[in-house]
């Protein structure tokens, strides 16, 4: 397969950046998108050109670092996958593929396709934890009965890998789906009730401080999320926030 790539190149955070066009040949349909970029980078290195910088780690859809905007969609045209799980069989010979970094004021570009997603870390630090002393006196998990539905919903919320696709897909660059997942995973469990009010207020405050946009319920985040985090979490976040604002 021969492809035309239009790739965003940016020297550093201060550089204005721009697109460069590259042709790659010999791409197999069974290759992952990142392997295709590896081929491109091998070619560039052989030509004495700086390779394209892009984030990647586990390459099996767990770490959430391989976040790329591919032909206008986070993680490309497939659903419920990360970029590393996107196969080149989704493209045809001769296709042009536009590759950009996720765009948000809160996600500044570091170099080429690599962005700084530490804004998500700071939202987590603001309240995404529980203060349970686990040093030697931990209770047996089964001693606190939890409704099966709540346990499942909490688990599903906790599957968020923080890749940032929700922010990238949202026309407002809103981080509501991410924040709502991180709030929900605790809000649904008894262990999370103690700091519930403080948690949601602090995390929403931090989310706003980072400069993310406002959610307008387009639902794009849910569709593009590789883990299928549901919009129900955003409704829960809104409820938790309103309740905390009134009663704390």
């Amino acid at each position: 397969m021969k492809l035309k790539l239009k790739v965003w190149r940016q020297e550093d955070a201060q550089d204005k950046g721009g697109f460069k066009n590259y042709d790659v040949d010999g791409i197999d349909g069974d290759m992952s998108f990142l392997e295709m970029l590896d081929v491109l980078n091998n070619n560039l290195v052989n030509e004495g050109i700086d390779p394209v910088e892009f984030d990647h780690d586990c390459r099996e859809g767990i770490c959430g670092s391989c976040s790329l905007q591919i032909n206008g969609e986070p993680h490309g045209p497939d659903r419920r996958i990360t970029t590393c799980q996107l196969h080149m069989r989704k493209f045809k010979d001769g296709d042009e593929i536009v590759i950009e970094p996720f765009r948000a004021t809160a996600f500044p570009v570091i170099k080429d396709l690599v962005i700084d997603r530490s804004a998500f870390d700071r939202i987590q630090h603001a309240g995404g934890y529980i203060s349970v002393n686990t040093s030697g006196n931990t209770q047996d998990a089964n001693s606190i009965p939890i409704d099966k539905q709540d346990a499942d919903d909490s688990f599903y919320a906790a599957t968020c890998i923080g890749c940032g696709a929700c922010v990238a897909a949202c026309k407002n660059a809103s981080a509501m789906l991410f924040t709502s997942a991180k709030v929900s995973q605790f809000a649904l469990l008894p262990q999370g009730k103690i700091e519930a009010h403080e948690r949601v207020l602090e995390m929403v405050h931090q989310m706003d401080k980072e400069g993310f946009g406002n959610c307008t319920n387009t639902g794009a985040c849910e569709i593009e999320c590789p883990k299928g985090i549901s919009l129900e979490n955003i409704a829960r976040l809104n409820r938790e926030y309103l309740s905390a604002s009134v009663f704390s």
Partner: protein, 221 residues
């Protein structure tokens, strides 16, 4: 509760509440207007009541105007903030792959409705104020039906503009009405019923307004 008004969720909730308030007003406005199709005398009676009742004029009307102004101003404020949050625009953004057009273009449909409100005020509200407070005409409970009909009779352009505006209002409501419940945190066993109701409302009420305008246009050819 300190600082609640400054957060993104509080702004969303304020938008949702003002939107729900305007939806209630819309239902009431439609009910009154529809009487002009079935019973001109009833239309005159209700319009006269609404135009002369102290509570409606001195309390409800200012609240309504405040609600309208707030909804539009907040809509534009949020849009500006949201554009700023994106920063650098995408070279390619495939929005239709993951979200409906109406949900991504609320500011566009809302702007058309705002422009329509200007026309509507020019057609009805400003003449009403002049009639009552500038010219200080004597009270006439039978003038409302004739004045309303006169705006559409023999005027295809005005009838067309009203119809187009209400189609845009329908698109605005198709997303906005259901979305306001999600913003209020409503997501339970009633959610699917709420979605069906809000979609039906978003279609029936604006299309009802279009029907009224077209009815009076053709009824007076």
């Amino acid at each position: 509760m300190a600082g609640i008004s400054k957060t993104s969720i509080a702004r969303k909730v304020a938008m949702a509440l003002s939107g729900l308030f305007l939806v209630l007003f819309l239902a009431q406005h439609f009910t009154i207007n529809f009487t002009s199709v079935v019973s001109p005398s009833t239309f005159n009676e209700i319009s006269h009541f609404m135009g002369t009742n102290f509570v409606v004029q001195a309390i409800l009307q200012p609240i309504l105007i405040a609600g309208v102004v707030f909804h539009f101003v907040m809509g534009f404020v949020l849009d500006i903030r949201n554009r700023k949050a994106r920063g650098v625009k995408y070279n390619k953004f495939n929005g239709q792959a993951n979200s409906p057009w109406v949900s991504r273009n609320m500011i566009l449909s809302g702007s058309v409705v705002l422009a329509f409100l200007g026309l509507h005020f020019y057609d009805f509200w400003i003449p009403e104020l002049i009639h009552k407070y500038v010219e200080t005409n004597p009270d006439d409970p039978f003038r409302y039906y004739d004045e309303t009909i006169a705006k559409f009779a023999g005027n295809p352009i005005r009838t067309g503009l009203y119809s187009i505006s209400f189609v845009l209002l329908m698109l605005h409501l198709l997303h906005g009405f259901a979305s306001s419940f999600q913003t209020m945190g409503v997501n339970n066993k009633y959610s699917s019923g709420i979605k069906i109701f809000t979609k039906a409302f978003a279609i029936v009420i604006p299309m009802g307004f279009v029907f009224i305008a077209i009815f009076h246009y053709f009824n007076n050819l």
